[in-house]
Symmetry: C2
Subunit: 266 residues, 2 copies
């Protein structure tokens, strides 16, 4: 069974998508088989991996609403070992469309269970998927709840800014709520500090605060603010492919190995 | 009747809240009477203006769900001429709670009409409100739709990054949809470029792109990335109060005067 990890944080613009894309790529680079599920109607993870709107004939909307099997929606990304189920804009209507549908909070979980029972392989790959990463929208709505109820763990990308810190308590409460009502195995796998700028005092203070409160839950690897990371999506490539040597790429590769070490300890 | 302006952009972290707080403060500084409505469950605009959780006894949740009049939820901010209706976490449940309520897309509009018919004054102020600014969450859900159906115009804060640019088309479509179905007077008042970093090529390219597509809709005033702006919320103050002379504050003061000029021309 693959490990299912959700990138979640209702605060906007903290690096959820950038982490999903680059962590996914880094895990594939070290030999893992990764499936990325884009559950954000904005579809930034799909765009950042070069999937055009025209290619998104089937998407996570079909998985969530019309019960299409996951393997029927999977696309290759051009990166060996990394596949994606792309998002489309109509995902924004899922909360209303599933309003009175039974097991509406378990749609993603039920679909992933079917996928896992069947292999879980993507396309012509023989090796089964070892990691599923789910990118979430910036809210705690039905899409994020579905991702959390399907997951083994939550990875929290956290920008070192005051507003982002404020949202952390609410996020922890939501994870607790999902754990007690929908998914008893859900845990916070870790918190990753993103867009860290050494010259900015506030970043250092927020990082200290977070480590004081959450201790070892906070990854040692810190992702620096690095313009190459924000340029990469306009070429439809992960930073690791766009500029392998830049500080951002090196940080994501380090993050992948730290994550694999953590997973082994669990 | 006050002018009602919505800060909207479903892309997260682009500066909606920072613009609502600092533009509101700048307009109050030049003599306008401003009411800020925090319609984001995260409640960052309320925190950024120093409103503690304990003070949020009544909030926009009460306005939207329990039909409490706006004037009963208004709080002073300590900044002369600027009042706020704070947000609370239970706002996140509004979409479900109003699922089958009649006129659910017009709740904010109906409430603001009542407020305007009664004066519209806040607390002991004699001068009526001339601007209502509404801060929205990073999504195009019922809260944002309510804000747009209540508004005269949408102000779009736009970070000069690739993913933020990608979301612009979808936002324009939503404004068009609201204009044709809920609020025929709604228009895009302008696009404000935020967190602009001169040293970063991508910023320059995105800014050029946006001006080429949207022409005069894009404000001449550009808000620079400025660490003092991101420090201010941790003191519960707008940047303009925290550090009057910093580049960010000066830009927001310029934005306020450019906005007043635009409003006069309409
Ligand atoms: N390490 C980094 N250095 C520089 N820019 C970054 C970095 N990480 C992310 N960015 C940029 O910051 C912006 C926000 O990141 P991203 O879109 O990944 O956040 P998000 O949490 O997924 O946003 P949303 O809440 O809208 O889904 C993007 O434009 C991205 O390119
Ligand atoms: N001009 C600026 N210079 C530096 N930092 C800024 C600037 N404007 C905003 N920020 C910081 O960037 C982060 C995102 O800004 P803000 O929270 O206002 O965006 P938002 O669009 O309201 O986010 P959300 O989508 O979560 O509501 C905040 O931490 C804020 O302090
Ligand atoms: Mg994202
Ligand atoms: Mg905000």
């Amino acid at each position: 069974r693959p490990r299912v990890i959700v990138m979640a944080n209702q605060k906007g613009g903290v690096g959820k998508t950038t982490t999903a894309i680059n962590l996914g790529t880094a895990l594939a680079a070290v030999g893992e088989q990764v499936l990325l599920i884009d559950l954000d109607p904005q579809g930034n993870a799909s765009t950042g991996l070069g999937i055009s709107q025209a290619q998104r004939v089937r998407s996570t909307y079909d998985v969530m609403v019309s019960d299409t099997p996951v393997e029927a929606c999977v696309l290759a990304t051009g990166i060996p070992g990394l596949h994606i189920v792309p998002a489309s804009f109509d995902l924004a209507g899922v909360e209303m469309e599933l309003y009175d549908v039974r097991r509406r909070s378990y749609r993603m979980r039920d679909q992933l269970s079917r996928f896992c029972a069947g292999g879980p392989v993507c396309g012509n790959d023989v090796k089964p998927i070892s990691y599923v990463l789910i990118d979430c929208p910036p809210s705690l709505n039905l899409l994020t709840i579905n991702a959390m109820s399907a997951a083994d763990a939550v990875l929290v990308p956290l920008q070192c800014e005051f507003f982002a810190l404020e949202g952390l308590t609410q996020l922890m409460k939501t994870v607790e709520l999902v754990r007690s009502s929908l998914n008893p195995r859900l845990e916070i796998q870790g918190v990753v500090l993103t867009m860290f700028d050494r010259r900015n005092n506030l970043c250092g203070q927020v990082a200290e605060d977070v480590r004081a409160h959450l201790g070892d839950k906070v990854y040692k690897t810190v992702i620096p603010r690095n313009v190459r990371v924000s340029e990469a999506p306009s070429y439809g490539k992960p930073a690791i492919v766009y500029d392998y040597k830049c500080a951002g790429s090196r940080a994501y590769l380090k993050l992948a190995s730290e994550m694999i070490r953590r997973e082994k300890q669990l």
